[in-house]
């Protein structure tokens, strides 16, 4: 299961209204982009991390979640860390200050988004998009893909275990060959499963639309105000400093 999704389902904030979490995340993202990286970016990064931990995200899982995008940011910042001229490749004249600021701003923005991802299951986000007026065709497709990912993941895991049990993953040549065969047989299986799912949906009077009732979690004015106050405080602190 995808790490962010697993964390979101286990999060203490899972049942908090989506509007509050979205406002918080979008607000933090805006502050990360608008405020100077020091201290604004650092404040946003620290706040998002503290809130994620408060929502029940284990610190180790939060670090793992941040690791991949952080590595991407780090590789991108390398270009700012070094300069190249007639004398050759050497450390930037600002001793990497610019690279550090860019990386801090990027990490703050990432943390703001991951706070939402680690506290809100993907289907809730898709439902939110539907309420915002995104066409049902797109949201239904996204939900179907989301569901299918896990079904295919199970199928692929079972096939991989079957290959491994017959020594199909011993040595890289066999691994590559087995992976190719797995990928090739996954497509027809996916199509077959899709066909059977169509039969299952038809049995429940499917008329071309995948309408379902989602739980009601209206945002409270008090909750929205709390989020707005927090964002205002952060904006004030970031600007004043």
């Amino acid at each position: 299961m995808i790490l962010a999704d697993r964390l979101a389902y286990a999060s203490r904030w899972r049942r908090r209204p989506l509007a509050e979490k979205s406002l918080l995340s979008a607000g933090l993202l805006a502050l990360a982009l608008a405020l100077p990286p020091v201290p604004g970016g650092a404040l946003v990064l620290g706040t998002a991390t503290a809130l994620a931990l408060a929502a029940g995200t284990p610190a180790s899982a939060w670090i793992r979640l941040m690791a991949a995008p952080a590595a991407f940011v780090a590789s991108g910042s390398l270009a700012l860390l070094a300069e190249m001229d007639a004398a050759g490749l050497h450390l930037a004249a600002d001793h990497g200050r610019q690279a550090g600021l860019v990386a801090l701003r990027a990490l703050a923005a990432i943390a703001a988004l991951l706070l939402l991802a680690a506290t809100t299951p993907t289907p809730d986000l898709i439902q939110g998009l539907r309420r915002l007026g995104v066409p049902a065709e797109l949201t239904e497709l996204a939900l179907s893909i989301y569901r299918f990912i896990f079904v295919l993941q199970d199928t692929a895991a079972a096939m991989h275990a079957g290959q491994a049990a017959r020594l199909g993953t011993d040595g890289w040549r066999r691994r590559v060959r087995s992976a190719g065969m797995l990928a090739a047989s996954l497509l027809p299986r996916a199509l077959d499963r899709a066909h059977r799912q169509e039969t299952g949906l038809a049995a429940r009077c499917f008329d071309g639309s995948l309408r379902t009732l989602s739980p009601l979690r209206p945002a409270s004015p008090a909750g929205l105000i709390r989020v707005a106050v927090l964002l205002a405080l952060l904006a004030g602190a970031g600007t004043w400093a």
Partner: protein
């Protein structure tokens, strides 16, 4: 007991394959539990897909309350409102982000109000004893839980007849017991149930009527005791008699069970017979 669903002379062949149904006749009686027994690959799923209108026969008819069911868009929709179907693999049926959302899909397609849909979802989840799973996503459920969610999805539509394809397949004994208890609950509400299985012991324990299905035809249909005691018909279907039925017949033949007493249907009944034998031995000593 009136007939609610009937198949008459159904013929069907898959493209490039042999004849899956070859002149099949079947009756489903109102308020009864019918087990359609057949060996693996006999075509039981194909039969169920005919009984809910998903597949149209090459020849023959399916009658719902005595009237031929239609295969047009409207005809099929009306048919599926009355005949629910639960597939063997629950992942083929579950598509939504959470259990409650998935169960709400069918009732919403019936055009019910949101309040009524929420009520039915709550009732179906309670009937299948999975109310605590309402907000779980399907990929975080065990196989047995998925099965019960799939059944709840059909139950929430309150069909007159519920068709279940191999309901106990892949379940451990406890999972099967849970499922049967939930289905018993439905039967208490007057639902008609028909299920396919190759498990003769399950059929004997749980079904009122039994149909033996082989080579695309029903070779014998009637009440469970009559059909499952027919050794020739069972052999022709590549099945064997249920253990408890054989035990009961043996108990009758040796005078341990009177002819007017019912044959043991559940394990506890069989064990009670053994207790009776033990007591008789003690009294003879």
């Amino acid at each position: 007991m009136g007939v609610i669903l009937e198949a008459q002379g159904l013929h069907y062949a898959y493209p490039g394959g042999g004849e899956a149904l070859a002149g099949l006749d079947l009756t489903v009686r109102r308020g009864r539990r019918l087990a359609i027994l057949g060996a693996n690959g006999a075509g039981k799923t194909t039969l169920l897909l005919h009984l809910n209108g998903t597949l149209a026969p090459a020849r023959g008819h399916v009658l719902l309350d005595g009237a031929a069911a239609g295969y047009g868009r409207a005809g099929r929709a009306a048919w599926r409102r009355r005949v629910g179907l639960v597939l063997q693999a629950p992942d083929d049926q579950l598509f939504a982000a959470s259990v409650a959302e998935d169960v709400s899909f069918g009732p919403l397609n019936l055009g019910l109000s949101e309040a009524e849909v929420r009520r039915r979802v709550g009732e179906a989840l309670a009937a299948l004893d999975i109310a605590d799973l309402a907000e779980r996503p399907p990929h975080m459920l065990s196989f047995g839980q998925k099965k019960r969610v799939a059944i709840a999805g059909a139950v929430a539509m309150r069909p007159d007849i519920l068709l279940l394809d191999e309901p106990s397949a892949g379940l451990d004994p406890q999972g099967t017991a849970h499922l049967l208890a939930a289905l018993d609950h439905l039967r208490g509400d007057g639902a008609t149930l028909a299920f396919t299985t190759h498990d003769v012991d399950l059929a004997w324990t749980w079904a009122d009527d039994v149909a033996l299905f082989t080579a695309g035809r029903v070779v014998r249909q009637g009440d469970a005791e009559t059909v499952l005691a027919d050794r020739d018909a069972l052999t022709a279907t590549r099945l064997r008699p249920p253990f408890l039925l054989e035990l009961g017949q043996k108990a009758r033949s040796c005078g341990l069970l009177r002819a007017d007493e019912p044959l043991p249907r559940r394990s506890a009944d069989g064990l009670a017979l053994l207790d009776r034998a033990e007591n008789r031995n003690h009294s003879q000593i």
